[in-house]
């Protein structure tokens, strides 16, 4: 049944040009965008830009580049996965044809999980490729040191897509859902965190980092260059394990809401 539903979703999208473009751009831009960063000059004492392209830091650095890619392209995919079917009325047609609502919903999630797995595998391949190319003396322990970024990359990709999917379910229209997805992530959550939250709970409250999109982002946060042993984590980052836990909790909540709304709605 899992494979059947996966095949159905794949067949729906494989002939769709926008989907092909999104996938192609993701595949092309993840390594290209990352390698362009090679041109940035950093002070010598940080180890230079090259430190981002060698093991073990390549995992986080590429993870951060992929963070933007997944946010943009996979979020886009999450929205169109369901809004297209609302506007074509193929969602109701699929149900009329013989799917149960549960099957339909389950199929979408299987597909999102499969895409996230593919994205994480691709990320791993690119990271290994870049890392082996730039690292002069490859030590296997150094390669494996940050390998936990692979499951985190999977989780991050899924979390973005899942959030976008929820907005698609709630708003039904692609333009509207995309707009809210981008505006919430890039603006609204910032305002909530740095303005409202700071006002209510104080400037330094750690809880202002607990917002969902911040948690997703902090699964692969911006790689701060090493300035020395004394360098501390800035206070706008979540502790890594907390980011994982919060992402899981938020994703669970979003999935639950999407499911409830989807099951109860007339189509």
């Amino acid at each position: 049944m899992v494979l059947h539903l996966l095949k159905l979703e794949w067949k729906k999208l494989v002939t769709y040009n926008l989907f092909r473009i999104l996938v192609a751009l993701y595949i092309a831009l993840l390594p290209l965008g990352f390698l362009i960063g090679r041109g940035i000059q950093l002070p010598e004492e940080t180890g230079g830009t090259i430190s981002f392209y060698t093991f073990p830091k390549v995992w986080q650095a590429l993870g951060y580049a992929g963070n933007w890619m997944s946010f943009f392209f996979l979020g886009f995919l999450g929205v169109l996965l369901v809004t297209n079917e609302f506007s074509y009325k193929t969602l109701r047609q699929n149900l009329i044809t013989g799917m149960s609502r549960k099957e339909y919903f389950f199929g979408k999630y299987i597909f999102m999980i499969a895409v996230s797995i593919a994205a994480a595998l691709y990320y791993a391949i690119v990271a290994l490729g870049v890392g082996f190319y730039y690292t002069d003396y490859v030590i296997i322990e150094r390669v494996m040191e940050n390998i936990d970024f692979i499951p985190k990359f999977f989780l991050m990709s899924f979390a973005y897509m899942n959030f976008a999917f929820l907005l698609g379910i709630l708003l039904r229209r692609m333009g509207l859902a995309l707009f809210l997805y981008f505006i919430y992530t890039l603006l609204i959550e910032m305002v909530l965190r740095y303005f409202f939250h700071a006002k209510i709970f104080g400037e330094d409250s750690a809880s202002r980092n607990y917002y969902p999109l911040n948690a997703f982002e902090d699964l692969a946060p911006f790689p701060i260059p090493d300035i020395g042993p004394s360098s501390e984590m800035p206070n706008f980052f979540l502790e890594p394990n907390l980011a994982v836990i919060l992402t899981l909790v938020y994703s669970g909540i979003f999935t639950f809401i999407a499911y409830q709304v989807f099951m109860k709605r007339d189509l």
Partner: protein, 295 residues
Amino acid sequence: MNVLNIQNLTKKYGTITAVNNLSLTIQSGEIYGLLGPNGSGKTTTLGMILGIIHPKNGNYEWFEGQYQEHDARKRIGTLLETPNFYPYMNALQNLEIVALIKKAKNVPYDDLLKLVNLHHRKNSPFKTYSLGMKQRLAIAAALVGDPDVLIFDEPTNGLDPQGIAEVRETIRSIANQGKTIIMASHILDEVEKVCSHVAIIKNGNLLATGTVGSIISNDKQIDVAAENNKALQNLLTTHPMVSKIKFDNQILTLSADESLTASEINRLCFENNITLTHLIVKKKSLEAEFLEITS
């Protein structure tokens, strides 16, 4: 066998009752027409029995409950309102999606596309089709998996006369294969020509149900008028063969038994010193019947 059993189905949108306490049973092999004006609740009813609209009250059962609900739908071919397909896929790809959902094996795609006269365009994207072609593809999609039951909602809506004739012909040929057909329509002529049974719905209420023959009663319609319509009405009201009189625009419209002839009315009136100025006998059409029932 009961193909469909609906009991007390009700749907409300806010204060508006779209479907009110509707019950009906459809037997295997019937060609069942749901007849009603636009907005009478036909599509809402079909939406509920197809699982896309949640009823407020009541329930329904397909195939006497032999299958799970969505599996029952796999045995039903449906054309609901507009044809819904993936616009970027061609006819064949769209039918393959339907077959995948229905888990139908060995689907004769070429035969289906030939049946609905789309074979020559099977590789063009759906979005390039005319409305008639879209409608015909929807009929082909409804036939994927050789379903036991077919549901057509306003199947000739928006088609040109040739398209209408083609679609009706297709439906009749499907019916001849012994399949059960449920067809919603606001066009009486269509129901009269195609269906064996009919349910008449207005404002969500079921007004009448039965065979098309029994709904079209054998009554004939006689229009009469005289200088003194009041006296005429008094005279004819007592006549045993007249079941109903309607007075409208200086003309009395009688619903009368088939055996009542024009000469008999004429003679009766003349004997009672009423001279008729107008006398026309009409075979009552489903149209007239329909207006009578729904008004």
